[in-house]
């Protein structure tokens, strides 16, 4: 079964948009309630003080997810390092993707960028499982001027159409790929993208998925490039 990790900053009152919960209704969800501490504070010390509140807030979020349809399992972590916690828990539960929270209403159209060095098969497989037989349309987006890019895009689209998903394509030939992607965001309710390999630009400007989430305001599902063992 496909599993998605949804990290929630549980003690900061972060809530998950109803649209995202519905979108994830076809998959198993691990809600990761986390609380980040400054290094002066041992996680154990914070737990002593906040555990009760955090457990009850997390249980509320998990209940909402269950009401939206998917099997849901909560995890609560006190940490100094958010990214390390997300990666570890995603590995442990064998999550195929993790969510970056964002505001959205009912999801009717997904934007799926295939630009760059992402594992297209993994992303398409995940999109097919996520959409299932629901009435959600997909735009496949590719910003590349390289030879054969158009054919690659069409092959990907026909694969989704075979799975019964209404699919359109958008091929951008010029300009900055990231800017073009941000321009494509309106009219879409959520984004599904592949996790990019660590790169110089990610180091300098921040992770592309995080930047896209910030620029688009809506939720982003990041399909992980490596999966942990099931467990």
């Amino acid at each position: 079964m496909t599993r998605v990790l949804v990290p929630v900053e549980i003690l900061e009152g972060e809530s998950v948009a109803a649209g995202l919960m519905d979108l994830l209704g076809t998959v198993d969800v691990t809600v990761l309630g986390y609380h980040v501490l400054p290094e002066q504070t041992p996680p154990d010390q914070a737990r002593e003080q906040y555990e009760e509140r955090a457990v009850s807030a997390l249980e509320d979020v998990a209940d909402e997810f269950r009401a939206a349809g998917g099997a849901t399992e909560p995890r609560l972590v006190f940490t100094h390092d958010r990214q390390q916690t997300v990666d570890r828990v995603a590995d442990e539960v064998g999550a195929r993707a993790y969510a970056i929270n964002g505001a959205t209403g009912e999801v009717e159209r997904l934007l799926v960028p295939l630009s760059g060095d992402v594992a297209v098969d993994r992303v398409l497989g995940f999109v097919a499982d996520l959409v299932g037989n629901r009435d959600i349309a997909v735009t496949l987006f590719l910003a590349s001027a390289s030879e054969g890019a158009g054919e690659r895009l069409e092959r990907a689209a026909s694969r989704l159409r075979e799975a019964g998903i209404e699919t359109t394509t958008e091929h951008v030939l010029a300009g900055d790929p990231f800017d073009a992607l941000v321009e494509a965001v309106p009219d879409h309710d959520a984004i599904v993208m592949g996790q990019a390999a660590p790169s110089l630009s990610a180091f300098l400007f921040g992770d592309e998925a995080e930047r896209l989430a910030a620029a688009s305001v809506g939720p982003v599902l990041v399909v992980r490039s490596v999966e942990g063992l099931d467990g």
Partner: protein
């Protein structure tokens, strides 16, 4: 496994629960506690705590007392530290919990020994931090001197107090992650020292520079070598601070022993080399006359004004890094005893606005400032060593006690080589070193231990912790 039991006079009981330790987290019933410190972070805590004192404050004081044989005093300290770091590593991998030495001793030897060590560790760290801050004050005055501002030694204490208060406030309010900064500071210090020592050793053996007249190695005989070892032992206290963050280390079975033993080896070699270079460059008599910031003169002698500047800069960074790392360890030490109901639970409250343990940080910062105001470098250093050495000796005893009657839960990933010789010699050497300290330091140290024992009987005499994981 035994259960922790009893209550303190406020009616609080030790927090007891069953947890599962994995490589990446401590898993409790409802929550996981992420382990986020790697090997480099552990080494940065160990080396960063130790390097300030041994290299930047002690060379002058030590050479004045023991002559060129001060290098031997540092070597003796390193051997004792290593004899303790090995048993401490075994205990830490068996019990990878915050609290370090306190935790091992309270579980291995019981609540009374634990309370004395835990509360003494608090004061030991407070004395050590005050010592680092006074060292910082001396370097700050030298830095002002280089900048052309004639600031007398009268400014040493005010500057130290200001910086000490600043750290306390910063640690309460600052929520930026400073761990990376600490790693950078340690790397920078090692680079400065690497250049300095390479040049200094070449100079000392006569490859470069002008020849220096040889001195008698131990002009004052063997006793000052040992009493100097007791004084400079403060330079090795940092490895135990690694154990206070044991609960936050990734893959603790591997990283804890490497960080503790590795940091002792690294700084031990650096210390001995530094003293060798310093006594060769300007002679032990001149070093002794120059006192706390003698290394600046050594840097100037070897590499000119740039060398002096580099040493002043290094001294400021190193004493600051030692002081800050110790303030953080103090707060964790207080948390560990308050979790076991040996101090009121409110000592470990967390500030709602900043998420920092403001009460524990205040319980560290307040006494630190009071002690800094005394400005007694040698007494501060020796009392800090005294209180740590008691803990070190008892850690070795706790190891022997646990090994003789191994409980079911005792399953360390790392076992001391050369058992039982290493912990036995470690314990004897730790206690023996205390005997070489000044009388005043011994009296203050014993008084603090007696007071902590009195506190235990008054406040938490019913609390039992032996064998309760």
């Amino acid at each position: 496994m035994d259960e922790a039991s009893g209550q303190n006079i406020d009616g609080e009981a030790p927090v007891a629960e069953t947890v599962v330790e994995t490589e990446g987290a401590t898993v409790t019933e409802n929550a996981e506690l992420e382990r986020t410190l790697g090997l480099s972070g552990g080494l940065a805590i160990g080396i960063g705590t130790m390097i300030g004192a041994g290299i930047f404050v002690f060379p002058g004081l030590a050479a004045g007392r023991a002559g060129p044989a001060a290098a031997a005093s540092f070597a003796i300290g390193a051997v004792i530290a290593l004899l303790v770091a090995l048993p401490a590593s075994e205990l830490a991998t068996a019990m990878p919990k915050s609290g370090g030495g306190y935790y091992f001793i309270s579980r291995g030897l019981g609540a009374l020994a634990g309370a004395v060590v835990g509360l003494s560790l608090w004061f030991g760290l407070v004395f050590a931090t005050a010592f680092y801050l006074v060292g910082f004050g001396f370097y700050a005055v030298d830095a002002l001197g280089l900048a052309g501002v004639a600031a007398g030694e009268g400014l040493v204490i005010p500057i130290a107090l200001l910086v000490g208060a600043g750290f306390t406030v910063l640690n309460v309010t600052g929520t930026e992650n400073a761990a990376k900064l600490q790693n950078g500071v340690v790397a920078l210090l090692l680079a400065i020292l690497g250049v300095f020592l390479t040049f200094g050793v070449l100079d000392a053996v006569g490859v470069v520079g002008r020849p220096t007249a040889p001195e008698r190695f131990a002009p004052f005989g063997p006793f000052p070598v040992l009493s100097t070892a007791a004084l400079v032992f403060t330079s090795y206290l940092g490895f135990a601070q690694v154990a206070t963050v044991a609960g936050e280390m990734k893959a603790p079975g591997r990283n804890l022993p490497l960080a503790m033993v590795g940091s002792v080896l690294v700084v031990g070699v650096l210390y001995v080399a530094t003293i060798f270079v310093a006594t060769s460059a300007i002679g032990s008599e001149a070093l002794g006359r120059l006192g706390e910031t003698a290394m600046v003169e050594v840097g100037g002698e070897l590499l000119g004004p740039a060398g002096a500047l580099a040493i002043v800069f290094g001294g400021l960074l190193a004493t600051m890094s030692s002081a800050n790392a110790s303030v953080l360890s103090t707060s964790r030490a207080i948390y560990a005893v308050s979790k076991d109901a040996l101090l009121p639970r409110r000592a470990s409250r967390i500030n709602l606005r900043y998420g920092t343990p403001h009460v524990a940080l205040g319980l560290a910062g307040g006494p630190i400032l009071a002690l800094t105001a005394t400005g007694q470098v040698e007494i501060l250093a020796e009392v800090a060593s005294f209180l740590h050495l008691v803990m070190y000796g008892l850690m070795c005893v706790a190891l022997i006690a646990l090994r003789r009657d191994e409980p079911e839960w005792y399953d360390p990933d790392f076992r001391v080589p050369g058992y039982p010789a290493v912990p036995v010699v470690g314990a004897v050497a730790s206690f023996a070193l205390i005997g070489f300290m000044q009388r005043l330091s011994q009296v203050v140290g014993l008084a603090i231990m007696a007071a902590t024992a009195g506190w235990y009987f008054y406040y938490a005499g019913d609390v039992k912790l032996k064998g309760a994981l």
